[in-house]
Amino acid sequence: MHTFRVKAFGITKDILGGKEMVIEAPGVTVADLRSALNEKYPKLTGLRSLFIAVNNSYAAETAEIREGDEIALIPPVSGG
């Protein structure tokens, strides 16, 4: 298992119950992390969308996360 520290914003902060959580995932891709998140917090699947950002940029599902990367959950944005 791999351990990731994940920042949460907006409604994901409410769903995860905090600004930053530690998540265990079976693999190192964004998709692996997403699966682990959805399993632990099923309410995430009810969102209109959920992007995962790595190092301040939107990440593809196939991207691999490395140690020290900054990971963040991006629920539907609503700025402006």
Binding site: K7, F9, G10, I11, D14, G46, L47, R48, A53, N56, S57, A72, I74, P75, P76, V77, S78, G79, G80
Partner: protein, 142 residues
Amino acid sequence: MIKITEKPIDVQKVIDTASSLNAGAVNVFVGTVRNNAHGKNVVWLEYEAYETMAVGEIRKIIDDASHRWPLLGWAVSHRIGTLKPGEVAVAVAVSTPHRKDSFEACQYIIDTLKVKVPIWKKEVFEDGEEWISAHPAVAVNS
């Protein structure tokens, strides 16, 4: 100038920052908090940003706009924290030699900001609150 700030936005300063002596046109978009949404009274709004990424995403949008229109100056300022109806949430200003480009570039920047930049708002009503656009159907959590 890209600014994410808890302080009230000075629109005149945003305009001045975007202005240029070579420009004939400045277009400015100001987004303000409405006093109602879905027929309910908005008491206040809470804006939250993933600041480092938000600044980076706005920079990408400006870079894209600079390639599509002859921008001579620009400024984007977004407020976060607690906002009351009537307050300015965002101000975007661009200057270009001619006016058509200023309208197009400013609209592109605010349209793209609204779909790409990690900023979120929660509307607080008298009887509940809601993170805007979070769910497929609009529903107010009471």
